[in-house]
């Protein structure tokens, strides 16, 4: 087993996924997971592959650097820890914390600090700050996973207090309410 993760960063443009995956195919790597996102105009892609035993990490990194040296893309390869994989059956519940309100420096830093203090994992985070009065333009949305050992009440209180201080409207709701109202 030779599981590797390849991170690709660069200015977004058509053809990045094709370039990377075709080269991985030539190297006989089997794709297991791919995810990509575009933030403003920057592309970030993550490729988890199973590489043949004859292709160690260093060789792959070298090959990729060589192949993409003029592409403007930054490629980083790393090993995936297979025994430290996330426990799919970890007990807990997912909540969505959404804040809407004026942009200020350090918003994500301040909220994530509180969440980290409770050893709670942020499973997904989206934040947009454009200023102005459009709620869609100034919104943070954290998907957090709360395990039974977390003092949920105290965490929520701390988050609400912080939002009050910063004059933000905050909602913390179990994810199922979004399922109920949006997914059929």
């Amino acid at each position: 087993m030779n599981k590797l993760i390849i991170t690709v960063l660069g200015k977004d443009r058509p053809g990045i996924i094709s370039l990377v995956t075709n080269h991985l195919y030539e190297l006989e790597c089997n794709l297991e997971n791919v995810n990509q996102m575009i933030l403003q105009n920057e592309f970030a892609g993550f490729f988890v592959v199973e590489a043949p035993a004859t292709l160690p990490l260093e060789t792959l990194q070298k090959q990729m650097n060589e192949e993409f040296k003029d592409s403007g893309l930054v490629i980083h390869c790393n090993e995936v820890e297979t025994n430290g994989q996330k426990d799919e059956f970890l007990k807990g519940e997912t909540f969505l914390m959404t804040t809407i309100g004026p942009d200020q420096k350090g918003l994500v830093a301040r909220f994530s600090k509180i969440i980290a203090r409770y050893h709670v994992n942020i499973e997904n985070l989206k934040a947009v700050f454009k200023g102005g009065n459009d709620p869609l333009g100034n919104i943070m949305s954290y998907q957090i996973f709360i395990t039974p050992d977390v003092d949920q009440k105290s965490l929520f209180n701390d988050l609400r207090q912080k939002a009050d201080e910063l004059n933000l409207d905050i909602r913390i709701q179990h994810k199922n309410i979004f399922e109920a109202t949006n997914k059929i």
Binding site: I139, R171, Q173, K175, I177, A180
Partner: protein, 457 residues
């Protein structure tokens, strides 16, 4: 992860459109509390209700907090007292009501429903004792709700019972004259009463239902209104078919919220989940009104020509959306048009757009009936009974639930203002044409036979 718009639309529903769960009602069967000894009976019902309902309010609040959706009212419905207390006299029935009031206070719920009788085909001694006890019982208690079913499609209309109820309503109003006849706001007269309804004042636990059960009443008139407005802002020339589709989809969302909360409360209390009642229930808050939906639909006010058609469409779309969202739909399931409880409807009556006759015709196409309608205090028993009989006939013939919650306000006349407070709201007294007639029709008594379509077997 959810789409930004999905997150925001859900937040918007709660924050600005008054989406909440209007009522979580715990039904408790009292048949195993029966005793001929009044003290024993009272001890038994207290013990059973308190055991099952001790954590009701706390659990509803916790679940509401978890999902960010408020459970506004926590309530209890019980087996009809006329059945479980059939051996008791009228003064003893009043005592039972006081005990129920006390229990409601003890478990911190706002209403307990089931001080009820089912008399569509005849009045048994327990029913008579309860009906006679109604004025005193409702005057002396604050949290007890009463309902009497006087008609069904299968049985016809018990006109004797209607006249009895008319007298009871007048007496209850007279006793509570200092509060504009408030006692009557806790009393409904029904045709085809549902046995699983979570809403007051008509909630009781039917005899064919489990020992304990959670029934949920959703809300959401504000959400429906905004959805229609948004649809029309986006596409001003929407056809009514498209608007009905918007209402249907919105009702589906609202119902799913109710079912989610209800099921979790039931699970946490280790009680069976019963039904979701799809009724759009308004409050006197602006933005939480059924009346405003009519205006969103392009009518000057609820009550003007077109209102019955609009209500028919609204009610049907709500049912279709709700039925898709939940497999267990029950109760009344339709739009409520309670006059004093909905500021916009009260204003429509005030301005003359909505009359009691139009209100009655609108009840042909929605649930409930003449709900929270203040009428002049000098209305005769015969006229009041006539209004009730008309409403019951609509329910009987159309195979649907209808009810009346009429308040003859002592010492006041049409146009005078009455104030009930809280969710019961305020309104002006509606004009009732011929309120002082003493026609003999209702006094002939007996039963109006069941309609031909009752013979389905």
């Amino acid at each position: 992860m959810y789409d930004d718009n999905e997150i925001l639309s859900t937040i918007e529903m709660v924050k600005n459109e008054n989406l909440d769960v209007r009522a979580v009602t715990l039904g408790i069967n009292l048949f195993d509390c029966i005793s001929h000894d009044l003290q024993k009976f009272k001890t038994n019902i207290r013990s059973k209700i308190v055991t099952h309902a001790a954590d009701l309010v706390k659990t509803c609040d916790q679940v509401g907090e978890k999902y960010g959706i408020k459970v506004v009212n926590k309530r209890i419905s019980i087996s009809p007292i006329s059945l479980v207390g059939a051996t008791f006299s009228t003064p003893q029935m009043v005592e039972i009501a006081q005990t129920l009031n006390d229990i409601a206070r003890q478990v911190d719920i706002d209403f307990i429903g089931g001080f009820s009788a089912l008399v569509e085909k005849g009045i048994a001694p327990g029913d008579q004792a309860l009906i006679n006890a109604l004025p005193q019982a409702l005057f002396e208690t604050q949290r007890v709700c009463a309902s009497v079913n006087v008609a069904t499609t299968r049985a016809g209309i018990n006109m004797d019972a209607i006249l009895e109820m008319s007298k009871a309503i007048k007496k209850a109003a007279a006793l509570s004259s200092d509060d504009d006849g408030l006692a009557c706001a806790k009393l409904c007269v029904f045709s085809n009463i549902p046995q699983d309804m979570p809403f007051m004042a008509g909630a009781y636990l039917g005899v064919g239902v489990a020992d304990t059960v959670i029934n949920v009443g959703v809300s959401g008139p504000g959400v429906v209104k905004r959805a229609i407005e948004r649809g029309l802002e986006k596409t001003p020339n929407l056809t009514l078919g498209k608007i009905a589709e918007i209402i249907k989809k919105t009702a589906c969302k609202v119902t799913r919220v109710g079912e989610l909360i209800g099921r979790e409360v039931a699970q946490n209390l280790d009680v069976r989940f019963g039904i979701v009642d799809l009724s759009l229930a308004p409050t006197p808050t602006v933005g939480d009104s059924i009346g405003e939906i009519f205006q969103a639909l392009g009518l000057t006010s609820i009550g003007v020509p077109g209102s019955t058609a609009a209500l028919a469409m609204l009610n049907d779309a709500v049912k279709k959306g709700g039925a898709f969202a939940s497999s267990h739909v029950g109760g009344l399931s339709g739009a409520f048009i309670p006059v004093s409880e909905d500021l916009n409807i009260a204003n429509a009556a005030d301005k003359g757009y909505l009359t009691i006759e139009k209100l009655e015709s609108m009840t042909c196409v929605c649930s409930v009936g003449l709900d929270m309608v203040p009428v002049p205090g000098n209305i005769t028993e015969e006229c009041l009974a006539g209004i009730i009989a008309d409403e019951m006939a609509i329910g009987m013939i159309n195979n649907k639930t209808t009810a009346t919650r009429l308040i003859p306000v002592p010492g006041k006349k049409a146009g005078d203002k009455v104030y009930f407070g809280g969710l019961l709201g305020e309104a002006r007294i509606m004009n009732v044409a011929h309120a002082t007639l003493t026609d003999s029709f209702v006094k002939y008594g007996g039963r109006i036979p069941a309609p031909i379509h009752s013979m389905k077997n």
